[in-house]
Amino acid sequence: MSAPPLLTLRGITKSFPGVLANDRVDLDVHGGEVHAVVGENGAGKSTLMKVLYGFYRPDAGEVRLEGKPIQLQTPHDARRYRIGMVFQEMIQVPALTVAENVALFLPDLPAVIDGPAIAARIRETSERYGLAVDPAAPVWQLSVGEQQRLEIVKLLLANARVLILDEPTRSLAPHEIDGLFQVFANLRRDGYAVVFIAHKLREVLACADRVTVMRRGVVAGSLTRAQATEAALVSLMFGAPMAEPASRATMAGRPAAAPILQLERVSVPAVGHGAGLAEIDLTIRPHEIVGVAGVAGNGQRELGDVILGLEPCRDGVKRLAGADATRWPVATMRASGVVFIPEDARSLAAVGGLTVLENMALGDTRKYARAGGFAIDWDAVRSDLDRSLERLGVSIPSASRPIGTLSGGNVQRVILARELARDPRLIVAFYPTRGLDVRSAIAAREQLLRARDAGAGVLLISEDLDELFALSERLVVLLRGRIVGSGVPAASGTRAGGGLSLEEVGYLMTGAERSARG
């Protein structure tokens, strides 16, 4: 590791309207080394990686390859310099096969494609580095882990020497993460340089030879494996010890109230590449948070849709507070106190072109309609919005601006205010903290807890196992549309009557064999 770096970035600066994403950033990438980049959301890590790959052109700064300055204007250039990137939203063509996706990126693809030869090369690389993937499979059938392996194979066959991965572990179960780190080890052995944006600190501690910490667009520090301790990293990331995340604070001693939602053997047919649902049994009570763990795409969306009434159940019964709600349309479900907090409020719950006030009115147009629908009582809308925002303790700049002009966090707050203003009995929350910075994420979790305390039942769908373990009274695991495990989230190693440990959830999420444990 005393060899000169393969790739150096000096003084990289990149800004977007309203935000300085990278501020004179320096970075060294060495061959045969695993380099982790950490920082909270919005620190500028993703932007830096995209500059390295040629997707963004920096406003200032230079990139040197083996000491010589190079120009990275487009991803094409990056590939020429043998720099490859595995994206978070992967750039794959789902309808084509693994081999075809790889072929697309091969620099030496002949005019007439030799399918078997490409398949052979894929298999060879797979075996060498532990990246099992089937060349003939259409990509839409692959799991997240397999898609990731496809991406890495693609880069290796395209002669990449530097591999950049943007939060590769976000959607992986614990044992899959171990597998990925083993792949990194194999690559390091052969002299490749691996740069990855880490999601959790313990990943960094597990496999990185070097760590760079970013905070608000600048490099807060760069540590070697020996220097990198959790305390050191935390202090670089936040400048102070991190605030305690919201804890469950269980409602002990409350009598079991009648369930607010019951799903009995609910099934939904699979559509296109989706998972569908098969014989789901689920009960949610007031004052209770039920967490749903699982890799995205295993039926979470269908579960939310069927509860909301967007998707009809082919079989099974759905009850809301005892009443048979199986055939109720969305409007009726909402009128009965079911609300929906989407993973991306801006695209799934808010209509960007309408004003904040109009979006508020949309929450219940019937309530605010006057004169048989020919007019709308905007005063009532206004007062309801103000009241709800005040209860949440937030304020927004202006209610007459199009909601699309607000920041993502503000949009989330408005939607939260709107939904909670209805005093819901059941909240379906999808990945509520994804993409939020730490402060907003903590605030969102607190909102859910407060709603639960006020009597709502909450269905929390999340990929973040830590979050699920911190907030849920009960946990179920969703795999391919079925509930494959349920229980009380328990600390590691314990198995107190019906408890689920983190590792067990990880195995259940991915359908891997459970290992024996005590």
């Binding site: 991803p75 590939r79 309808a95 084509l96 697309l104 005019a111």
Partner: protein, 305 residues
């Protein structure tokens, strides 16, 4: 008598189905690259009129065919520019192309309305054409008919076995991925749209040089739109398009046969058959077919920006 009807029906299906097949392949290629061209009708008309005029003036149908193909390709490039470079709405641009084609072909063909020509010669396959019933039905056609299925097979091969075809499909499924792979989606779309224009021009030329052997305003009568429906019906697969074109060629031929036989059904009601059939087929199969559509087409048909 029955033999004669069967022979006429079979022959008619093939003859009517041929321009449909070329047109469907044109639209299929276009949509595989992520572009919907409702103006195919206009392209066919331009090909038909140019092919006709060229044949009249040079006396050679071969020259006419080449001219028709080139004219169709160039005409489609106008659409390509507006849609690819200027990112205009594909449906509106397509309809505009249709109007342009209708008007342009009417203007160019004004002098030639109704004139008859020999057009494409019939090529009889030596021994096979003498087989009873099947012979004249299958083996006594012009060169475009014989070339139709091979062209469909070639289209399949190019799309699924060559590098360029892979680029085309990638651009149609996920242009960002294609871009990330270093291919410029715009260049690929221009290339595809030119080829599609050539095929569309040839489809039109078959109408004016072989099927009708004359020129009349708007002689395509909506075949360009039927082709768009056929592409969906064949789930964007060139070989299935052959079956579809044959089926619809049969519908067109059937109503001509029924008229010739003096069946006392209004010709107008019979004329409806291809359109109603297209609609019925789509109503039954369409929902399923949508999942087979190239990825970036969804935006166009949902009308989302």
């Amino acid at each position: 008598m029955i033999a004669g009807i069967v022979r006429s029906l079979l022959s008619g299906s093939i003859v009517s189905g041929t321009p449909l097949l070329y047109a469907t392949l044109a639209e299929l290629l276009s949509e595989r690259a992520g572009v919907v061209n409702l103006g195919l009708e206009g392209v066919m008309l331009v090909g038909a009129v140019v092919g006709f005029i060229a044949t009249v003036h040079t006396g050679s149908a071969a020259v006419g065919l080449v001219a028709a193909g080139l004219a169709g390709g160039v005409f489609n490039l106008i659409f390509a520019f507006v849609v690819v470079r200027r990112r205009a709405n594909q449906l509106a641009a397509g309809l505009t192309l249709m109007f342009c084609g209708v008007g342009l072909s009417a203007l160019m063909g004004a002098r030639y309305v109704g004139s008859q020509i020999a057009g494409l010669p019939e090529l009889r396959v030596p021994i096979l054409a003498d087989l009873p019933i099947v012979g004249p039905a299958l083996f006594a056609h012009d060169v475009l008919v014989y070339a139709a299925v091979p062209v469909a097979a070639l289209t399949w091969w190019v799309l699924f076995r060559t590098r360029w075809g892979l680029f085309v499909r990638a651009v149609g499924e996920n242009p960002v991925a294609a871009f990330a792979a270093g291919k410029n989606p715009h260049v690929v779309q221009y290339q595809v749209l030119f080829v599609a224009g050539v095929l569309g021009g040839i489809a039109g030329a078959h109408l004016s040089l072989a099927v009708a052997r004359t020129w009349a305003e708007w002689m395509t009568a909506g075949r360009g739109f039927i082709a768009v429906a056929l592409v969906i019906f064949s789930t964007w697969h060139p070989l299935r398009a052959v079956a579809g074109a044959l089926l619809f060629g049969g519908a067109i031929s059937l109503q001509l046969q029924l008229q010739a036989l003096g069946v006392p059904l209004s010709p107008f009601l019979l004329d409806m058959l291809p359109y109603v059939l297209s609609l019925a087929v789509l109503a039954v199969w369409g929902g399923r077919a949508r999942h087979a559509a190239p990825g970036s087409l969804g935006r166009v048909f949902q009308g989302t920006p």
